[in-house]
């Protein structure tokens, strides 16, 4: 697009992520999604007179994991600060966040940009509590307020303004989603609001180092909308600048149905949040030992896993990438490969058939109940010719999602492949004898009749014959009749 030639796009993203804790950041109310209003609150969540906050240790641990996973410096001393504004879903009229002394700074996240992998700098990661929800129904003169979500633990991840396109923004978000799920910090499901994104977008003439005026796009709740909104905003700013206009600082929303941006607020003055250290809390002190202890619990991270899969198991890059898109999948596949012995074969089955089965059910790899050893056993049955690939595929969904012993299941269903040469030959002879017309048609040159006859043989063997072998036998016998 022409915008790219004259202007450089500068994008910074602020991502808010709900940490995967059972309870809220400063209260012991449980985190829950979708329930009736105010069914998950304590006096702390409601900001009742006399209520006090107490920090959730697990939230700290998960936040530190996320920070270490992108190489941030985790600060040994960070401070919770009050950020003041009035809004019905903010019960204390301040949010407990972190301001001058955040949990972590520095770090970078690698994304796959058009020209290849690129590192996007992470400015800071800090902890804060989520607000509740305001519900506006059309035509209702009132707004309803539900505080179930008030106090849920969040980390805010601020990137350096180093993203250069809507596609890179999308890649950045996807990389974060993978990483957060990988280290168990969050389920990062954008649809459930567990990962939210605000985008800061500005343009500058190519070669210019100073930043242009930026606008902020808020309330983007899917990867697609983030990319679409950024694209729309880049175009809008480019048009404006080309016509000699100036970009006005504003907060924008995106209407996905119309694919259009709209102004939420024109920012004339910076908001005065009156930050100060929360006197109800003491500083968060994290010793080197504690930080290291958490670091030691981090698993091998996605990129490293991807590379290792490529090298150790001689997998093509793209296959390694797909397997490393989910820690559960990568772990399971590797364990199955170890149990089976031939990683490439296991990988092929996973990439083709296991993923297909998951897609069919719209399930995540975490839903797999079949042990890696069980999967390996299934494949070994096929390798040994005791089970046709087709039969194996038919059993796969059930085994995957309910677990079980493949050998036992095969026996139970009587799916043992017909490999007995005599039985096979009998089946072929019977099929040929029962379908003289097809035999004649084949002799007359109709190749399709072979498939028909194959079908007949397969039916006679209850699908338990090895198709390749059947074709071989048929060809032999038919060939003799030409």
């Amino acid at each position: 697009m022409s915008a790219r030639l004259e202007f450089e796009t500068v994008i910074g993203l602020e991502v808010h992520v709900q940490l995967a804790t059972r309870t809220k950041l400063f209260s012991s109310a449980d985190v829950s999604y979708g329930d009736a209003p105010n069914h998950h609150v304590t006096e702390v969540c409601l900001a009742l007179p006399g209520a006090l906050p107490v920090l959730n240790g697990r939230a700290v641990e998960l936040a530190v994991r996320a920070a270490l996973a992108v190489g941030c410096k985790v600060q040994p001393h960070s401070v919770f600060a009050r950020k003041h504004y009035f809004y019905p879903d903010l019960p204390k009229a301040y949010q407990i966040s972190q301001y001058e002394e955040p949990l972590a700074t520095g770090g970078w996240l690698e994304i796959d940009a058009a020209e290849g992998p690129r590192r996007i700098g992470i400015t800071r990661i800090h902890m804060e509590e989520d607000a509740g929800k305001s519900l506006h129904e059309p035509g209702d003169p009132e707004t309803q307020v539900d505080l179930n979500r008030a106090g849920v633990p969040l980390v805010e991840i601020v990137s350096e303004p180093e993203l250069r396109s809507a596609e890179e923004a999308g890649a950045y978000l996807r990389a974060w989603r993978l990483l957060l799920r990988w280290v168990g910090a969050s389920d990062a499901d954008m649809e459930k609001g567990q990962l939210r994104c605000d985008a800061n977008v500005s343009l500058r003439p190519r070669g210019e180092t100073r930043l242009g005026t930026r606008t902020e796009i808020k309330n983007l709740n899917s990867f697609r909308f983030v990319e679409a909104a950024i694209r729309a905003e880049v175009e809008r700013q480019a048009k404006l600048l080309r016509a000699g206009g100036k970009v006005q600082q504003a907060t924008l929303g995106f209407d996905p149905e119309r694919g259009r941006l709209f102004v939420m607020r024109v920012k004339e003055n910076a908001d005065d949040y009156r930050y100060f250290p929360d006197p109800d809390l003491v500083p968060l002190i994290l010793s080197e030992e504690r930080i290291e202890a958490i670091r030691r619990t981090l698993p091998e991270l996605p990129r490293a896993r991807e590379q290792r899969l490529q090298q150790e198991h001689a997998l093509p890059a793209e296959d390694a990438r797909t397997l490393a898109s989910s820690r559960a999948l990568a772990d399971w596949t590797e364990a199955a490969a170890r149990a089976h012995g031939r990683a490439q074969s296991v990988a092929n089955w996973v990439l083709r058939d296991v993923l297909a089965a998951l897609r069919e059910r719209d399930a995540e790899p975490e839903a797999i109940r079949l042990t890696p050893e069980g999967f390996a056993a299934l494949l070994r049955l096929v390798d040994a010719g005791r089970l046709t690939a087709r039969s194996a595929r038919s059993l796969l969904p059930e085994l995957l999602f309910s677990g079980g012993d493949p050998e036992a299941l095969v026996r139970e269903r009587g799916l043992e492949a017909v490999s007995d040469a005599g039985a096979l030959e009998r089946a072929v002879d019977e099929a040929l004898a029962a379908n003289p017309k097809a035999v004649e048609a084949f002799a007359a040159g109709d190749a399709k009749s072979l498939n028909f006859l194959m079908g007949r043989v397969m039916r006679r063997t209850g699908g338990k014959a090895d198709p390749a072998r059947v074709r071989e036998l048929l060809s032999e016998k038919l060939g003799g009749r030409r």
């Binding site: 304590t42 697990r58 009035f86 019905p88 309803q144 307020v145 939420m264």
Partner: protein, 101 residues
């Protein structure tokens, strides 16, 4: 020298969501002026290199286990509310320019 103007007082009143009548705003401006005049005595105090007190007692960070505790039943949560609707709180519909920053 005026330390705080009437306009400032009105700005701050809005930040604090306090409506002041004209006479009240006048009185407040005078009183705040006097108080600020008094606290100005801190300006010349030499505080170079002196850390601000964050907390009077040095405490290790108290942490809570991630275990759900007793909840307030929803009915009790709205029991003190001036205008509940079911178990939700209600407010006049939020206008765009009231949306938070």
């Amino acid at each position: 020298m005026s330390r705080i103007s009437r306009a400032e007082v009105e700005r701050v009143a809005h930040l604090a969501r306090l409506r002041l009548e004209a006479a009240e705003a006048d009185a407040m401006t005078r009183q705040l002026e006097a108080i600020l005049g008094y606290v100005a005595q801190l300006e010349p105090v030499d505080t170079a290199g002196v850390p601000a007190t964050a907390h009077v007692m040095e405490l290790a960070t108290p942490l809570r286990d991630d275990v759900p505790g007793a909840l307030l039943p929803a009915e009790q949560a709205v029991a003190n509310a001036p205008a509940p609707r079911g178990t939700a709180f209600t407010v006049p519909r939020v206008l765009d320019d009231e949306a938070e920053g």
